[in-house]
Symmetry: C2
């Protein structure tokens, strides 16, 4: 059996309370060098490690953080996870990853478990407006920060990228190439991510006095399938767009796949752009134009913020926003029809 604090106390010839206070650096404790040595020796001899369950029962703390992510298969999250994990590790917290699969029932189950296991804080990568999760966390008064996919709120904490300007950069890029018929495959509009990018898309079109049609905006889940289906819809329109900005890389790949089933070529007939710069979009043909965000740091900063909250310190800022960066690759080019139309005009 593993040694308990009593065993150490016996071996060191002192009482458990001294051991506990010494090991936890109790500032009100003054202790002889001699007893320190005795304790240290006993600890290392017995290989004593405090039982964290018992500690948890006493202190209501666990030094455990949970991160809830909607889809572990989405490459977007892997760097984020690395960053969050590194921050946790460096601050002596244990990060457990939970996959909600965008499924309310599982999501519920997982929050309950996390609360039950006394997680000190929760990292939410899948916040939806009106989700039970945030309500539950608020009620349980457990700190949480939303990351990447967030919801609007004045009181919450979040780490995200500047979706509006990111979307603007993409659309400006498409406009500068000469596109006028620019469609948008939006994400679930119950998320800030999707509404922000949609807003950036709209704003940029308006600023550039380009019409947009409701038909050119299709809402879809943040998945490969979602992008695939949405693109199918766009391809059925009588007036097919010459460029499509997709809310995220995974659906962008789905869109690409849908296009490839037709005679239509990317970028010759349709320019296509995503968002996030997942490694995959650099491996497909054509390589996708997209927006890069520093996910590793998003995860790292977010976890640091969460840890501050757990330690009951106020973070300097409640909302950290990362700057997006446009990565132009092969999937965007000037529209072919542009030339055709000009010829017609003559």
């Amino acid at each position: 059996m593993r040694a308990t604090i009593k065993d150490v106390a016996n071996l060191a010839g002192v009482t458990p309370s001294i051991i506990s206070r010494y090991l936890n650096n109790d500032p009100t404790l003054s202790i002889k060098e001699e007893t320190k040595d005795k304790i240290n020796k006993a600890v290392s001899e017995l290989k004593y490690k405090p039982n964290s369950i018992a500690q948890g029962l006493r202190t209501k703390k666990s030094r455990m953080l949970g991160i809830m992510i909607p889809d572990i298969g989405n490459p977007t999250f892997s760097d984020l996870l690395k960053g969050a994990q590194d921050a946790a590790y460096n601050n002596d917290f244990f990060l457990v990853i939970c996959n909600t699969e965008e499924n309310n029932e599982k999501e519920d189950y997982i929050v309950n478990m996390l609360l039950e296991k006394n997680a000190d804080g929760i990292f939410l990568a899948s916040a939806y407006i009106n989700s039970n999760v945030t309500k539950k966390l608020d009620k349980a008064k457990i700190p949480y920060v939303m990351v990447n996919r967030t919801i609007r709120s004045e009181k919450g904490y979040s780490v995200s990228c500047d979706n509006i300007s990111g979307a603007s950069m993409v659309v400006e890029h498409l406009i500068s190439l000469g596109h006028k018929k620019i469609a948008h495959i939006a994400g679930s509009l119950f998320t800030d991510t999707a509404t922000g990018r949609l807003q950036g898309y709209r704003k940029t079109l308006i600023d550039n006095r380009i019409d947009y049609f409701p038909d050119y905006i299709v809402e879809a889940p943040f998945s490969f399938e979602g992008g695939y289906i949405a693109m199918k819809k766009l391809l059925e329109l009588k007036d097919i767009p010459t460029a499509v900005f997709v809310v995220s890389d995974l659906p962008a790949l789905g869109a690409l796949s849908a296009i490839k089933e037709t005679n239509i070529l990317v970028p010759d007939d349709i320019s296509l752009a995503g968002f996030n710069n997942n490694w995959v979009v650099n491996q497909v043909t054509p390589r996708l134009t997209t927006i890069e965000t520093d996910f590793y740091n998003m995860g790292y900063k977010g976890a640091e913020m969460l840890i501050q909250l757990v330690n009951e310190n106020q973070p300097e800022q409640a909302h950290i926003v990362f700057k997006p960066k446009l990565i132009v690759r092969e999937s965007t080019s000037p529209p072919k029809q542009e030339k055709a139309m000009k010829t017609d005009d003559i």
Copy 2:
């Protein structure tokens, strides 16, 4: 504050021990319907839920399972995770995912944490020969099952696919296309996965009386980078192979990327095949020939096995082996040089 068992006891007018025994279906308990009702009422009125930390302290159980995976960014693991999570959920266990990043230090940290948090069992997707992890788990006498990437051992438990025959299927396919110069990018030979596939490769060449050269076998990590670098090496050979079988899809994509940097074409000049049928290999150009394994079920069955072990039941079999299936796509075709050589012969 949350209601404790004492509160329920007070409200119901009985002692905590009855509540506990009733709620835990103690078979030795005989109890009046009347008191049952009282308890039920008190429980629902106070919304009582047992504190799982306190339970853990008493029972040394946590109903928590951990899964350690080497690289959360590797698409191979996402279906596996889903399966494992579903099995855990269906059996009322909580599955926490831990990302070791193929890093010994983190791996160590994570096992320690999992043990400290009293995980009931561990699911190991990143077993390496001589890893500290398995030693530690053995010593802690905590049940574990190795999945996908396993190590040889008589006593352990594992769920994997038939690597030898999977590799054979690929190589037979290449041979049937007419290839004779078939190289293999192997995974880390500290894993059964890699040695099994290497063995299948060797065996099939020998059975078909085809020479293989040591130069044609390159060991590499199970990563995109790993495959990229290994392929570079193969491309530097004086006698470049006409076909390459890569141990896994992620390195296969790396290999593809390396080839694309040259004038060499896939499959015209080099046929390329992977293993695992990650969704990504169906999105690149050319779409990769590969081996499909039922990862979801691998995860599900593996978790079921682990849960049996946790419940101290002997699983029917210690090693579950899944059948692989060959998926032929665009990245493999007959060798061009075959024809050239025949022309020479004339």
